[in-house]
């Protein structure tokens, strides 16, 4: 991943990857979890969530599997592929470096 990623898009990707790193989740679950963990600060727009999920799947970072949700309803569960896990680590490091840098700049002035 040589080229710089778009901040917003990159951020959403990072959030999705991080969210499903623990266990497979469906789209609704991902949106809900992000909202809860960020204490309602981050609202994921569905219009952006699903295209992002499909793009990540097409790129081979995540894979999808149909499974049973509560009330026996079928839902599409997303999980990380091994390549996706590595990608997540890489992106996390990138993000930390970036946010530290931004923090430094903000504190200095």
């Amino acid at each position: 991943m040589g080229k710089p990623t778009d901040l917003v898009q990159g951020t959403l990707d990072l959030l999705i990857l991080k969210t499903i790193a623990l266990e497979p989740m469906h789209g609704w679950g991902i949106a809900l979890r992000i909202r809860q963990v960020s204490k309602e600060v981050l609202q994921v727009n569905q219009g952006a969530l699903y295209p992002a999920l499909h793009r990540l799947e097409q790129s081979g970072w995540i894979r999808a599997k149909w499974g049973e949700s509560d009330n026996n309803r079928r839902a599409k569960y997303y999980s990380l592929t091994p390549a996706g896990r590595k990608y997540l680590e890489q992106e996390e490091t990138n993000w930390k470096r970036l946010s530290t840098a931004i923090g430094l700049v903000l504190e200095t002035f």
Binding site: H26, G27, G47, Y50, R55, K76
Partner: protein, 945 residues
Amino acid sequence: MRWFYKVPLRVTSLFRKRRVEQELSDELRFHLEKQIEEYLAQGMSCEEAVYAGLRTIGGLEQIKEECRDMRRVNVIENLVQDLRYGVRMLARSPGLTATVVLSLALGIGANTAIFSLINAVLLKTLPVQNPQELALLQWSSHGWPDGVIGNVAGDMGQDKAGRMTSPSFAYALYEEIRGQGDVFSSMLALAGNGSDVNLGYQGTPGRADGELVSGTFFSTLGVEPRLGRAITTDDDRFAASPVAVISYGYWERRFGRDAGVVGRKITVNAVPFTIVGVSSPEFYGVQPGRAVDVWLPLHTQPLVEPSWSRQGWNGSGAPPVDALFATRGDWWVVIMGRLKPGVTFQPARPELEVLLQQAMARDIKSSTKPETIPHLDISAASKGLNDLRDQFSKPLFILMAVVGLVLLIACANVANMLLARASTRQREIAVRLAIGAGRPRLIRQLLTESVLLAVVGGLIGLLFAFWGTHVLMAFMSSGRDPVVLSVTPDPRVLGFTAAVSVLTGILFGLSPALRATRVDLTPSLKESGPRLPGPAQAHGGMRMGLGKTLVIVQVALSLVLLVGAGLFVRTLTNLEEVNPGFDPHNLLLFGIDPTQDGHKGQRLVSFYQELTRQIAALPGVRSVSVSANTLVGGGRNAVMTHILGYTPKPAENDKGVFAAIDTVGPGFLETMHLPLVLGRGISEGDTEASPKVAVVNETFARNYLSDGNPIGRQFSPGDPKASPIEVVGVVRDAKFFDLREEIPPTIYLPYLQTLTGEHDAVLGALGAMHFEVRTASDPTAMASAVRHIAQDMDPNLALYDVRTQTDQINQTLFQERLFARLTSFFGILAVLLGCVGVYGLMAFATTGRTREIGIRMALGASRREILGLILHEVFVLLAIGIAVGIAVALEASRVVSTLLYGLKPTDPATLAVAALLMLSVAAVAGYIPARRAAKVDPMVALRYE
């Protein structure tokens, strides 16, 4: 490892569109339901919750479309899109599409048909286990190995270094080599000469192609029979009861696929055999092109071919039954071996060479010249014995080149049509470029269209090829030695066709696509409609340049093919006009072998005499005679002849001279209408008891008996110690083997005098003979009467080679006829395609110049002048094309010079006729659009936009 997840996804997105769509809806609906549930939990009413949920999620369709966009990232979908668009574009101009597809189908079909033959003859391996392990033994020597080899039966030829080569060995050598060495895991032997046998079943005789094989034949090849068992080493002994394995094809033809055939009795040349097996359908033996009907154990040879057994016997008295197996001078078995796993050809050769030299050591005499001692060669036998490859590889490659050129011409046509169409599509392309389509994307689109054309052409071409190969195979089996091949399309042929189609598509599509997309946008967009560029426009001019070049190439290549066709057609007519030296009309020929039913010695002679007498008594028969070989029938027997009182010329062998020899019955010369020049012919009185006599031809007399009167001179064929034969007559020269050869010095001997057995070593014992029946009218009408007489005399005998002399001569011209027909066909096809090219180019050019023509006419130019103006351009193109074509033809025709007869490859008449024909046909093709242009109404032309 990401591809591991990506590839299945791509495949699903492509081929299971509906499922992917369904899953997308399901996924989003699930999300919506969850959202609604949440709103309900917050205390909203049902209606409110649904409304709020829908609002939160935003346009469902928009999300879906975005998700689809995420998936639509692969090349394949673009390709599908391009294909769809291509099909639409091609369907829009069905006439053009049909012409293009048809010309490509013809070109690709012709290429596939010829390639199928090349595949069957040159590329296919034997249908046996691991054919790459099989090796064929061969020997080569500088000159005849005197003392070591007496006779060679089977193939014999010369290699490029001028060495004598043959795959035939003495049986004793096979046995000795087989026992030793650790190169081969097993070895097999088969008789080098195929033998036509009389296979009797339930009292009915029939001809069959028999092959004598060792007991290791089937096991070494690793071939399992379809029914019953194979011939084993236990069967291949003198004491064993005779068994036979029949081929699948023969089982079908003769036994109607009767499953109970195993265990049945048949007779092979009147000797009872038991059928023990039927081979598998794909196994035809080890010689491509030949279809063996029945395999017999090698050691049944003395039973099946008693007369041949005697051939090698030089001792006195009756030869022992195993003569051919015991004598070391008769080289008649072909040896193949299967290399042990891990052994390669390179190290195997020296080891086998040592074995051969050891085995031959006691045969080498002090008189044997060292350079004539045979040396061993070993060659890969994965494709079987190579007679057919030797015979057909050059003709097939020439044909392949011819059809390749036809395809090129077709491609040029298609390129020209696409160029013309591309310029009418210029606006479309300009629009697409202007709204942001990438040039590579557009080129890909245009290429997809041309490859699509080529692939459709290729598919139809396969149908043409299927039909074409059948016609070709029918033709191949009409020759003197019918060639039976399996040409069913296999992966190699289909791969070839696919590759040719795709390459063709790219070849003819690339340059128009490159040109079409290199447009200057502004003027193109300004045009009000799909206007044709005039010659003044820069791009149009360039395009016309390419178009003209293509047409010049087409004319040149067509001319080359036309010249080739002319050369081959004239070769055929030259050969057909060759005077064979005898009268081939009203002559019925047939062969019969009474030894196959046990007739021998005096009984055999009586049989021939009685048959001759009865046929001669038929109404409409002028005369009847017999001979060992028929004239121009492919049978050739050439012997070393020692002529008394003749001093060999420096270039000749001091042992004697080679002469063609035939043993004939009384009345042969008269029946064939071979006029005597001197002395007398062969009469009833020349029998076993009378002095030995011969008639020779003029060439023999001129070459060897020129000092003094040839009558009364003596010679001895073969062994110089044998009692000499006296020349009693000289007969006019006649063709002996085929029509191409120079007439050889020829000797005719009375067949009754061969009964003494003295010359059996060179002539073979009296056995099968051919009959010549001179009739008053149509000889074919006589065939059934003759057959009846023979059947009445011995119902166990089958007649073979029943045909007229003219048919027989025609069969020898089979390859020439094949070439003449195919090259004419392709030549005409090429010219037609070339004409389409000329027509297309001129039609396009004149339409583009309609306005200019209108102006010229308005300014006072006459129709004649306009016509002249355009025709001038046509003729300049044709003249350049023809000049180039003649230059190429002069160079290319050298390759075929050995296939020609009676003319040089640079034959000026052929060149002139071909050039004239090309010029006139192409001129007509150019004249039609020119005349149409000249006829145009100036007012219409001026308004033309």
